[in-house]
Structure formats: structure tokens, C-alpha cells
């Protein structure tokens, strides 16, 4: 079955690289559909207001303007969408709930005309009291953003939706054991309040959508991560059968969660419907920033252990600011709740997580959500317990971490990773136990991320008469390299050279269902579907050859694009010709993954636990509070690295995003208005922010549910890095409870800790 040199496990060059280095790769914004108009969106200047009147007549009269869309055009539709909670109108109907909400949209012959037309639209607002912060939204007399019971979306996946009070969008809770008693009896307790900022994903390509209506329904080209979920929501909104909505996804210029679920597709489709022509809407960065973001959060947590360093219990309350609409807030709250305990052997745990509506731009998915929010908090309390009990933090973790096979959450998938091995490796990589220069601190962190989302993926593979193959799979290529990894899996199973396999991008009319591209799921789940499709093809080929030779499958094998029996071979083109009895024809392999299939590991949830294990060595400048990151290490515990170079690439990217999240990235809102609304004011990591050293440690224990024992990667480091940096500062006696770790915040804590220029206070314990 395998070729002389295995393709799985080798650093095959990216199959999309040549197109991308020559500028030939096409993204949604590079496409021109015949007759296409250019759309621009008028956005609310108010955080909360009633729309008293919209007068678009002057805009409609401008030369070159073809259509102006307002809420009035949606009469007759149930204009609300939202995969989790149907709370968001396609465009504001009678009320705006955040500054930046689409109020009207113009389609014109070119962008400049559309932009001018926006200025000619008259909107009269009546400002309403706004709740623009978590505290304001949670206050007893807070203005309410949404009245009436919340309606579940098509993909809420949240069990029974309860009716929540006030501005609560969703409440996730779990508890086991008796935490009150555990804390009452505890030897050592740490307790703290923490805050985490809103963060902008900054996918370099802003949201871009082209929508076209025709006699065959609605066709949409979009840089969306989950085309099948977008298709379902558009079909629902416009009352179309699924087969009349077609979503095509070209290359995506980065996602990181910002293009998950439905974003600009409904408003673009509604505008194209009104204009009667294809329309493109391309967000500018300032618009992308108010389209989705990471949840800011406040959190209270306490953790206790025995005096000799055995963890006992943890309690945690989490409030996540989901902005004006739910987007993925409920799932973020659930994932944050799941991440709160951390992978330790608790006797009692008690976690509440609330997603809360506020009059700010909606918050949704961003790489490692939930775990990035909670890991640094839980892990800083673990370090604090280690210090209080006189134990080395790595040793403290070794004693308390879950072992493979142990229960992580009741009824869920048991731990499928060697965390003790992982943390030992990162500690070694950052020089744990070796002497440190002045003002240098080291920290490690361990966490888990419930990964894989929903385990439904399908794939098809078409073997052509000349022995080349086309792989049909709806995973979106947003930089992670899925097309390359799928090529490797299919090539391995079919014994074909990789250059004979072409992977098509998603087109919901032709490429089969894949639930989504996110949650580190594609290699594990869509990759498994690809493997099944290739195996299906292989078995068809073996059966055809077996029929010709009168031999059972077991007597045959595949190698170098042919079926072999001892020294006799029939090439794939020969087999296809013999099967159809003439030149032509093709064989089609089918593969699917669903919860019921396989070992049962999919049904338990999550699909796998993605590890978040990191190490950091930092140096602080006591006169400025600036944190210099000397060394970072991350473990990519992937089960099997199908392409080690791409695994490393995922880890390197996630690490620098984690560094940005930890040290400086923060969206600043004033009365609901984004203050730092461009990349001039919102700093994204550049080469000057790189750590001096980075070690990506690939661990392959073949303990994942994907092909060859693989499991996903690419998010863990983003959660692990902030936690490790926070612990490295704590190692210097500087305890941080607020991210990002700006120089001012660190400097103030340095003052509190009595660390001034040239002085170093010894931490309570320093055995390293």
C-alpha cells in the first residue's frame, strides 16, 4: 500500500505555493463577475439608537447608483440570522445596537460612486441609553438589547436554550464535587479577579463577498470559512432550497475565526437581489474590525490545594462580552467554561460562564477562543499554589496533571495526550533549572482546548482515465495547508505521486459537505474523510483487478499507480479501461466521517483535546516595564505530523499571535466606539516583536482520532504563550491580572512589588 518513500510524514511542498508566490492565486476580491456592481455599507454612528427615518431618495438619484438597500426592503422576510441565536437582522430594521452596524447599503457602478452615495443617505436617529461595557450591561437597570425569548439558530448545538434574564445571551455551567467544603478545608487558597481585552483577529484579507441572483437561485463567492453553514443560513433567510444556493470559496487571505459562520453574506445577497445584478461588498479594515472580534472578559477564579501541593478544587465565574449580537458567543462561553478547570485532578469544580450582550461590535470566534481567555488565569493560579507550597512549578504540574485516559470532564472524551511529557519538553527548551540573568523570569503553562467542533465531514475522489485524480472536499484553504495535507493522505492511500492529485476548493454545488474549517478539525476529520474516499477507490481498483485475475483482494496490493499481484501489474488507466470496456469513464471514491463511525471517540466530544503547552523566558526593563521575550517554546502534540513543516508553520504563527495577545493587542472602546480603528493605532506583531528564540516541539504519539493517529494543531500555542509569559513575570515576583501586559501595567506592578531599576526582590521560591 505504501510507496517506497512514505508521503505521509514528509515535508511535501505546499500545493498552493507556486500560485501564491507568483500572484496568480485568486481571492474573492480578485474576481470580477460580468455585470458586477460595487457595494458600500452605511454604518451606524450610534451605539444604541432607534431609527426614526431613512431617506435614500437623493442617493438613489445619483448617476451610477443602481440600488440602495434599507430595512424597508426586507419586509416580508424573517430577516434574522445567527447560527447560534437568531438575533441579528440582515441590516438594521428599526434600531441599531452597536456603532458600526449596517444601516443601509449602496450598489453602484464603482466604489467611489457608492461611497459618495452613502453621504447622500439621510438617517434620523433617536439615541437610546447604551450599555457599552460588561458592568453596564449587567446592572439591574441596564437597557436591554434584545427583548423576548431568544430564538435558536440553525447550528446552535447548545442543548435546550433557557430563557435568560436581562442582557444574558447564554449561560454555561457545570459543577462536580463539593467546592464549598473543599475550600473550607483547604490548606492553601489563591483567589483573584482578572480582565482580558477585546482583540482583533486581523485576517489580512477583509471580509469580501460577491452575490449573484439568477434563474438557478443565489450564487455567492465569499471568503467564508464554513461554506455549508453559510449556505444553510442564506437558504433559510431567502426561503430557498439548499440546492438553489451555491457558495464558492476561492483562496482565503487568513481567517483565524474572523470568517467563521455568516458575516457579510446576507447583506450582500439582499443588495444584489434589490439591484438585480451581481454585487461585491469588500469590507475595509475599519469595517472588518467592527464585523467581529475576540470577546473581552472579566473573570473571578479561586483555586485550592493541600499544603503539600495536591490540587483540590477550583471555582470560576466568567463574563464574556459578546457585543450586540450572539455570533459565536454561546460556544465561546461553553469553551471558556470547559477550559477553566485546566487538565488537573480536581476533587471539586464549579464553573459558570455567561455571554453578555453589550452595545459594542459583535464578538465571535478567534483562534483558541475560550482557552486563550482562561489558560493564563488558571495557570497563574497553579504557579501561585506552587510558590505557596514550596514546589517547583514544573514539579507541581507533574504531580497534579491528568494522565492519558483520565477523565477531563464527566461524560467527555478522556485525555488523549501525554501532558507531563509535553511540559517537561518545553521546560527543557527554555532552560528550566539553569542559572538566570538579572530580571529574567521563566514560566510554563499547560492547558486543553476542546477541539474538532462537530465531527461531520465528507469527501469524494474521482480517479480519471489517465490515472490522475481530483479530490473534492469543502475544507477552505485559508493558509493552514489543508490542500497539501489532503494531497499527501490521498497519495499515500492510493499509491499515486502527489503531483497527479488536484484538490478543488469548496463549491457547494460540487464539493461534498464539510461541517466547517476551524477548531483545528480539518486534518483530523476532513482528512479522515479523504482517507476513506481514497481507500474506497483503492478497494474498487483491487476488486476490478481481482475480477480480471480471479484473485481475492488480500492477494493484491497497490504500488506506483498500479495494482500488483506478485510481479504482475495492472495500471490504474488499464483498470479503468478494462472496467468500462472502452476509453473513458472514471471511478469515484466516497468517504464520510460522522459521530457514529469509528471507535466511538467522536461521539463523546470533543473530537480530541488540543494541548496548549508553552514555555517562556522573559526579561523586564524595570525603568519602562517593557517585557522582552527571550525564548518561547510550544508543543505541537499532533499524534502524527502528516507534514512536519506545516505543523511547525502553524505553531510559529499561533505563537506570535499569542505574543501579540499577551503583550499589546487590545481594541479600545469609548462609549461603544472603537477608538483604535486602524492598523496605525492597533498594533499587529511585526518582525520586531518576534522572540529571540522559538522552539516548536513536535510530539507524535499516534494518539489522535484522525488519519494515522493524527490530531489537529494551530490553536494551542496561542493559549499557551500568554499563560507562559504571565508565569514568567510571576517568577520575577510580578503578578499580572490584566492583559495585555503593556509596559505601563507591568511598570506599575513592578513598583507594587518593590522592583525598581537595578533591584530584584527574590521571589518566594527560586529553585530554578
Amino acid at each position: 500500500m505504501s510507496m517506497t518513500r512514505p508521503i505521509v510524514g514528509s515535508p511535501l511542498r505546499r500545493v498552493d505555493a507556486a500560485e501564491k508566490v507568483t500572484g496568480a492565486a485568486r481571492y474573492t476580491g480578485d474576481l470580477v463577475v460580468p455585470g458586477m456592481l460595487y457595494g458600500r455599507v452605511l454604518r451606524s454612528p450610534h451605539a444604541h439608537a432607534r431609527i426614526a427615518r431613512i431617506d435614500a431618495a437623493a442617493a438613489e438619484r445619483l448617476p451610477g447608483v443602481r440600488a440602495v438597500l434599507t430595512g424597508r426592503d426586507l419586509e416580508g422576510l424573517d430577516a434574522y440570522y445567527g447560527h447560534a441565536i437568531k438575533d441579528r437582522p440582515i441590516i438594521a430594521l428599526d434600531r441599531v445596537r452597536f456603532a458600526g452596524e449596517p444601516v443601509a447599503a449602496v450598489a453602484a457602478d464603482d466604489e467611489a460612486t457608492a461611497e459618495e452615495a452613502l453621504l447622500a443617505i439621510v438617517v434620523e436617529y433617536e439615541a437610546l441609553p447604551a450599555a457599552t461595557t460588561l458592568d453596564a450591561a449587567l446592572a439591574g437597570d441596564a437597557p436591554r438589547l434584545h427583548e423576548g425569548p431568544l430564538r435558536p439558530g440553525l447550528f446552535h448545538g447548545l442543548g435546550e436554550l433557557r430563557r435568560e434574564e436581562g442582557n444574558i445571551c447564554y449561560h454555561y455551567r457545570f459543577a462536580r464535587g463539593d467546592p464549598d467544603r473543599a475550600f473550607a478545608d483547604a490548606g492553601v487558597v489563591v483567589d483573584g479577579e482578572y480582565t482580558f481585552p477585546a482583540v482583533y483577529q486581523y485576517a489580512m484579507e477583509p471580509h469580501t463577498v460577491i452575490a449573484q441572483w439568477g434563474s438557478d437561485g443565489l450564487t455567492v463567492w465569499a471568503c467564508c470559512q464554513h461554506p455549508y453553514l453559510v449556505r444553510a443560513e442564506l437558504a433559510d433567510l431567502f426561503r430557498l432550497p439548499l440546492s438553489s444556493v451555491r457558495i464558492i470559496v476561492p483562496y482565503i487571505g487568513g481567517g483565524f475565526g474572523s470568517k467563521s459562520y455568516t458575516k457579510m453574506e446576507p447583506v450582500t445577497a439582499a443588495l444584489a437581489r434589490k439591484a438585480g445584478r451581481p454585487v461585491r461588498i469588500a469590507n475595509r479594515i475599519v469595517e472588518a474590525m467592527v464585523t467581529t472580534r475576540r470577546h473581552n472578559m472579566k473573570c473571578w477564579m479561586r483555586t485550592c490545594s493541600t499544603r503539600d501541593g495536591v490540587v483540590v478544587a477550583r471555582q470560576c465565574r466568567i463574563w464574556l462580552d459578546t457585543g450586540a449580537y450572539a455570533d459565536n458567543g454561546p460556544r465561546v462561553a461553553a469553551t471558556a467554561g470547559d477550559a477553566a478547570p485546566g487538565p488537573y485532578r480536581w476533587r471539586a469544580v464549579d464553573v459558570d460562564a455567561w455571554a453578555v450582550y453589550t452595545n459594542t461590535p459583535p464578538a465571535g470566534s478567534y483562534r483558541a477562543f475560550g482557552a486563550a481567555h482562561l489558560s493564563w488565569i488558571g495557570e497563574s493560579q497553579i504557579d501561585a499554589l506552587a510558590r505557596k507550597t514550596g514546589l517547583d512549578p514544573v514539579e507541581f504540574r507533574r504531580r497534579n496533571l491528568l494522565r492519558p485516559g483520565e477523565e477531563v470532564r464527566p461524560g467527555g472524551k478522556p485525555l488523549d495526550a501525554d501532558l507531563v511529557g509535553d511540559v517537561t519538553k518545553v521546560a527543557a527548551a527554555i532552560g528550566w533549572g539553569t542559572p538566570k540573568a538579572p530580571l529574567v523570569g521563566r514560566g510554563v503553562s499547560v492547558g486543553l482546548l476542546a477541539a474538532g467542533a462537530n465531527p461531520v465531514s465528507t469527501a469524494a475522489m474521482r480517479l480519471q482515465a489517465d490515472g490522475t485524480a481530483v479530490l473534492l472536499v469543502s475544507t477552505t484553504e485559508l493558509g493552514q495547508g489543508s490542500r497539501t495535507v489532503f494531497t499527501q493522505i490521498a497519495a499515500e492511500e492510493l499509491a499515486l505521486p502527489p503531483d497527479r492529485i488536484r484538490v478543488m476548493g469548496p463549491d457547494t454545488h460540487f464539493t461534498p459537505y464539510d461541517r466547517s474549517t476551524g477548531a483545528s478539525r480539518s486534518t483530523t476529520l476532513a482528512g479522515k474523510a479523504v482517507q476513506h474516499a481514497a481507500v474506497d477507490l483503492r478497494e474498487q481498483l483491487l476488486d476490478i483487478a481481482g475480477g480480471i485475475w480471479g484473485l481475492p483482494r488480500a492477494a493484491l496490493s497497490v504500488r506506483d499507480g498500479a495494482v500488483w499481484h506478485e510481479t504482475e501489474a495492472l495500471s490504474y488507466p488499464d483498470l479503468i479501461r478494462r472496467h468500462f470496456g472502452m476509453v473513458g469513464g472514471e471511478l469515484i471514491g466516497h468517504g464520510e466521517v460522522r459521530p457514529q463511525r469509528g471507535t466511538g471517540s467522536y461521539a463523546e466530544g470533543p473530537v480530541f483535546w488540543e494541548v496548549c503547552v508553552g514555555g517562556a523566558e522573559v526579561q523586564v526593563d524595570p525603568s519602562t516595564g517593557r517585557v522582552h521575550v527571550r525564548r518561547l517554546a510550544s508543543v505541537a502534540d499532533v499524534g502524527k505530523a502528516i507534514n512536519p513543516q506545516l505543523v511547525e508553520a502553524q505553531d510559529e504563527g499561533a505563537t506570535l499571535q499569542g505574543l501579540g495577545n499577551a503583550l499589546f493587542e487590545e481594541m479600545l472602546f469609548e462609549n461603544g466606539h472603537l477608538v483604535n480603528a486602524s492598523l496605525l493605532e492597533y498594533h499587529v506583531p511585526t518582525t520586531s516583536d518576534m522572540p529571540d528564540e522559538f522552539h516548536s516541539i513536535i510530539v507524535e504519539n499516534a494518539d489522535g482520532p484522525g488519519p494515522y493517529g493524527a490530531k489537529g494543531v494551530g490553536e494551542g500555542a496561542l493559549a499557551a504563550v500568554p499563560a507562559a509569559i504571565v508565569n514568567a513575570l510571576a517568577d520575577l515576583g510580578v503578578e499580572m491580572r490584566e492583559l495585555p501586559l503593556t509596559p505601563e501595567r507591568v511598570w506599575r506592578r513592578l513598583q507594587d512589588a518593590g522592583i525598581r531599576t537595578g533591584e530584584i526582590r527574590s521571589p518566594e521560591i527560586d529553585r530554578r
Binding site: 505546499r14 508566490v21 507568483t22 480578485d30 477583509p206 479594515i285 510559529e652 492598523l679 511585526t686 518576534m690
Partner: protein, 169 residues
């Protein structure tokens, strides 16, 4: 090649794009990025930040890296513009392009054209630059996917390869 129709308020500019003479009717306010992408169909330069921070729209104007999102097309009259499409005119990849492929310095690819052209200006001035030199030179070109490691390694490798070809020992 001629693009765009004459109309009142428009001006005609002549420039060289990827070695070919081009005449195009533009409105004076038009940005070089829009003219390249929308009128000349050269979509390799990407629009991202709009404020000359990210470098995704980088093209070379008389060999110098500029942000096409903040450069008026009018400023390019009579000058040479090189876009990513012009870096491998005969289909033979530039050593930087080869190195980006080999080192997996490409992920989503949105920054890649600007990143390669920016790196090309460094290799023009500094043959075989060090890791630190590359890192400093690429400070104004954002990539959100890679963490920069593989990009810098690719540029260093391309520089070494070009220097060894140009100055064989």
C-alpha cells in the same frame, strides 16, 4: 496596452508596468493600487490596511518599494512599476519565489507578493543578508500567519543562493 476610456476630468498617463509600456486614462484621485488591480487586471498586489502599515499592496516604483494603496497612480507616470506578476516574466521563478516555496514561507498568501517584493529590494542592496538584516528590513510588512520565521529563513536562503550564483568562488 491602453486601458480606461477618456472622459472629462480624466488624464492620460504613460508608464511601464512589468516591462511593458502602458497608457491609461485615470481620474487624478485614483490610487495606483486600484489602477493596477481594476484597470490592468494585476491583482497580485492586495488591499488590506489602507494606511501604509501592512505592506500587502507593495509594488516597486523605479525599484523602490511603495505602498500602492497610498500612492496616486498619477505619481507613477513616466516611471517603471514592477508587480509580483512581473518578477518571473518568462515563467522561471525568482530565487525568492523558489525559496518561499521551499521553506513553506507561504500560508494564506495574502502578504506574499508584497513580502517578496520588499525582500527583493533588500537583496538588491545587500547580497546575502543575515537573519537580523532581513528581520529589520521586513519590519514594515505584516504577516499574520507565519510568525515570520520561515519568511526570514527563505529570504536568507535566497540571498545566499543569489550571491553564490553571482560571485562563484
Amino acid at each position: 496596452m491602453e486601458a480606461g476610456a477618456p472622459s472629462p476630468g480624466r488624464v492620460r498617463i504613460a508608464l511601464t508596468v512589468n516591462g511593458r509600456p502602458v497608457e491609461v486614462w485615470i481620474e487624478p484621485r485614483e490610487l495606483l493600487l486600484d489602477v493596477l488591480r481594476d484597470r490592468l487586471g494585476l491583482t497580485g498586489a492586495k488591499r488590506s490596511c489602507d494606511v501604509q502599515v501592512c505592506g500587502a499592496c507593495t509594488v516597486l516604483l523605479d525599484g523602490q518599494a511603495v505602498s500602492a494603496c497610498c500612492t496616486l497612480a498619477y505619481e507613477a507616470r513616466g516611471r517603471r512599476v514592477l508587480t509580483i506578476e512581473g518578477l518571473a516574466p518568462d515563467g522561471r521563478l525568482h530565487p525568492l519565489q523558489e525559496a518561499f516555496i521551499e521553506h513553506a514561507a507561504v500560508q494564506c498568501g495574502f502578504c506574499t507578493p508584497g513580502m517578496i517584493l520588499t525582500a527583493a529590494t533588500l537583496l538588491d542592496q545587500v547580497p546575502a543578508p543575515t537573519f537580523e538584516q532581513v528581520k529589520a528590513h521586513l519590519q514594515g510588512t505584516l504577516c499574520r500567519c507565519t510568525g515570520y520565521w520561515k519568511i526570514i529563513e527563505a529570504v536568507v536562503a535566497a540571498g545566499r543562493r543569489m550571491a553564490s550564483v553571482e560571485a562563484p568562488r
